[in-house]
Subunit: 336 residues, 2 copies
């Protein structure tokens, strides 16, 4: 059975949504959670009439130190009593298969990379996000923030890792891979993407340059980019979606007729929210490390944590890491 270490304290809203999300996940999936955090607080959040079958599965590792958002990620390695450190250590020691944290994302990434180590052949792990598209199938975009100032080799590795993820975790057959650039033509791009283009040319599924709009139109399964660019695109996209939503609400408020219309369209807005809400994804896997780490948003609610746990279970179950090592070796052979 898959065991998932969960940082129970790191999120912006304390342990409540995290423990709730864990219990929700237990109702639907067979796995063993290890909650890392203040034991008393966690116990107080477990319902008194929790069935014994659940209670038996949950274990708690006591830890009180919480790395806060204002702390430097580089301090994380020194704070061995922190919830994130201890949760990652459980994976390192083989007591858990994967870790989920809604805490300081820089600390989580640093610890997962340094303590668990990188997969064979991987220079830099990358943060993966799944973007909603018009076709309903999500596109895999990476890196969205683990690195800045990436080199062409890194972007090529991200492409390979994203391809494995799409195949194994999302069941996409022969995923197409695009390189994010300022135009589709082969001649487009900056120095970084032009050099990456050459490394990826001829690699399975590589379809060349894709544009910002291709992230959302479903024309490409996997999109590789530098983490600086990926982070900007991700946050800008969230910004557009929430601005549109805010504008719609503003306009509706001003018109009784529109209020009625909005009520009749409630189901539509609900479906849309489900499609674009990050809680439905749960978190961003840090791909390329030995083990599995899901980096959740600090503002995660119970639903987001629940989904992050499913994501971790699936990541572990599929054995995508072995696949990545084989494909990275293939890429290096091609380059040599």
């Amino acid at each position: 059975m898959v065991t998932i270490a969960i940082d129970a304290m790191g999120g912006d809203f304390g342990p409540e949504p995290i423990v709730k999300g864990c219990l929700k996940a237990l109702k639907r999936k067979d796995f063993t959670p290890i909650l890392v955090g203040n034991k008393e607080e966690i116990l107080s959040l477990l319902p008194k009439k929790l069935p014994k079958s659940y209670r038996d599965k949950i274990s708690i590792v006591d830890a009180d130190d919480v790395i806060s958002m204002s702390d430097a990620a580089t301090d994380a390695v020194k704070r061995k009593e922190s919830t994130i450190y201890k949760a990652v250590e459980l994976v390192k020691n083989g007591e858990a298969h994967g870790v989920v944290s809604a805490g300081h994302s820089g600390a989580t990434m640093t610890l997962a990379t340094l303590r668990l180590g990188r997969l064979k052949g991987v220079s830099r792990p990358a943060l993966v996000t799944l973007m909603p598209t018009r076709t309903g199938r999500r596109s895999v975009v990476l890196d969205v923030g683990a690195n800045v100032d990436s080199k062409p080799e890194h972007l090529a590795e991200f492409a390979v890792m994203g391809g494995c993820y799409a195949e194994d975790v999302l069941n996409v057959e022969e995923p197409s891979i695009g390189l994010l650039a300022n135009g589709e033509e082969d001649s487009k791009g900056n120095e970084l993407t032009k050099a990456t283009f050459k490394l990826l040319q001829g690699y399975r599924g590589f379809k060349g340059n894709v544009e910002g709009s291709d992230i959302f139109n479903g024309s490409c399964d996997v999109i590789t980019c530098d983490g600086f660019v990926g982070n900007l695109v991700l946050k800008a996209s969230e910004g557009v979606a929430s601005t549109i939503s805010a504008l719609i609400k503003d306009y509706i408020r001003k018109s009784p007729v529109a209020i009625t219309g909005a009520l009749l369209m409630r189901k539509v807005f609900k479906l849309l929210k489900k499609e674009i809400d990050y809680a439905e994804i749960g978190g961003a896997p840090l791909i390329g490390i030995k083990g599995c780490a899901i980096v959740s948003h600090g503002k995660s609610n119970a639903r987001a944590i629940e989904n992050a746990i499913y994501q971790a279970i699936r990541y572990v179950d599929t054995g995508v890491n072995k696949h990545i090592e084989a494909r990275i070796a293939e890429l290096k052979q091609k380059e040599a």
Copy 2:
């Protein structure tokens, strides 16, 4: 009176929306248009009962060669009989104050830069876009595609030019200026933005790093970035907006109740469209050149061309170019 040279042929839909847009603009603004394109075609598009007062204002410069989207921008300088070349030349010769083109944007930017020249102290012109925000006031984002692989000096110049634009053209008092990065903290950024940060520190209105979401939340008036990044963010944002719109339409189609709701919300969607439709902006000014050039979308309709013309008139009227030269000198002095 301001004279605007208009490339009448370059757009994806031929001269019709361009001539129409020009006539619409003439109804509301006092200016002199010079339409550059196939004279017979243009004349056939002018309504027979066009008032003499309009007809007298319009002049036509005959040109038949149209640079198509598949042509290389670098060829533009050789094709002296092309509509874009001739339109830019009218500005160079002082016969027009500004140029509007919905043709090959690379060709327009190349010609405007090389034939008109750069303003004193400007290393690289930048393409400006106006993004919709939650507050109703648009944010000025540049560069969105004139350059890739920019240097810190370029990004600092873009910031200065954007500030002048916001002040003069959008009437923003003491505009705040942000540097697009992967986090707000001073420590965030890549090599390029970190070096730019130092150049801009202490410059009037500079508020440090801003994130992708700040483009749309109205927290910052001017945002500077490399053209590769700006182009991606712009296209990704358009992609999000059109995906949301497509998903809403899909969901509505499946439910009669929602269709009724959508009818009652028609006004809301119309207001939203007006806010996010690029036709309401008209085009992207290429800032930093001697003169004025508005780069319109190839798919521009008459409304977009009309607005692009207003934009050009305003750009010329405000004398923003003089302002830019003074402020760039100020920046260089600060750096020295």
